[in-house]
Symmetry: C2
Subunit: 185 residues, 2 copies
DNA sequence: ACTTGCATGTAAGTGGTTACATGATTGG
DNA sequence: CCAATCATGTAACCACTTACATGCAAGT
């Protein structure tokens, strides 16, 4: 899944600027989170406008820089739809956290404990944000039911991750290297 | 997580050739599956040997090309361990399947049904393979307990994905475009 | 005074993939 | 006979990131 397809998928549902597209990728508007940089979004949008998959208009704002709002054309919609018929690439799942966890036995237990807590916290935030998002969707007319389905998919995953860490974190901490206790006297 | 770190993590636990490292990445030996190509593994290994993080010896085989087996050095082990202390990058999760699912309403129900079945089948295979892997570990002295922990993490995720699709696939199919029925007479 | 957020865009760098080159063996 | 598996390696290419350039407003 490249930046082009990603932008089209967002613009299919609503108009947006390059800046806004990035925001939507960072927060879990799409449950297949992708972190994309401006350096890839802006050229992609410009190129697609040249190919007349998009049109744009500039919207002046008070006290802020002007926005360049992109809108998908019929040609863009058709191209996006056609791309959905192509065979799917495999999911990409890469986790430095899991690499860290696998080698907990090489690390001090304090660090292992810290990383696990951070992870748990992050997952709790993500679950919270996605649950909030779902509640907001009914009022948001631009989303379709597929969006619901996909967010719930992502939510299911985050919830088991959370659960797994809660119930198994002590095991991993036990594997880690016990440090000399610096208790008072 | 780059190819270098990935290779070191595998070689930390056992000696292997470039070809074998790739196999291990493709099957879920590491639950943070990464698909790496030969074009990135071979240069990475050669470079690391130059930096004396690895040593290698060639193993002739009957009826097959010779293998170049790499072994991690103490320096390599230390460098890998040190890298685990660095702050973690975010997980990368990118799913073309979920993009497809989000736009099910644009697609014929037969295609949606097909993709969902394929996905379910793939997940069932992955769960089966990971469960098999766990059973084999006790006999495999080179793995540590962290490996267990990580595989079970990946397994938990795959199991909910499987479950989610089983129970919710009909909803997505309903959203898809009903086709003209070509039933006999 | 400094940082953060808003907003767009380019140029340089990098970390990968794809395709190519080579070649023997086994299975359909 | 063709495809696949085993096995290593290079060169061309590509998509994306990082850093840079610019600038104003609001909050700390």
């Amino acid at each position: 899944m490249n930046v082009k397809t990603l932008c089209l998928s967002i613009l299919f549902e609503k108009e947006a600027s390059g800046y806004e597209i990035r925001q939507l990728c960072m927060n879990g508007e799409c449950a297949y989170f992708v972190e994309v940089s401006f350096g890839s979004i802006y050229p992609a949008l410009a190129k697609m406008e040249k190919e007349s998959l998009l049109t744009s208009h500039t919207q002046e704002q008070q006290g802020r820089p002007a926005k360049k709002i992109y809108k998908i054309t019929d040609k863009g919609k058709e191209e996006f739809r056609a791309s959905l018929f192509e065979s799917l690439n495999d999911d990409v799942f890469r986790s430095e956290f899991l690499l860290f966890a696998q080698f907990a036995h090489l690390l001090p237990s304090s660090l292992v404990k810290k990383r696990l807590s951070e992870r748990l916290e992050m997952l709790e935030k993500e679950v919270f944000d996605l649950e909030k998002l779902i509640k907001e969707i009914p009022e948001n007319a631009t989303s379709n039911n597929g969006t619901y389905w996909v967010i719930n998919y992502g939510l299911s995953i985050r919830r088991v991750e959370k659960q797994y860490i809660s119930t198994h974190m002590s095991e991993l901490v036990k594997m880690a290297q016990t440090e000399k206790l610096n208790q008072k006297a």
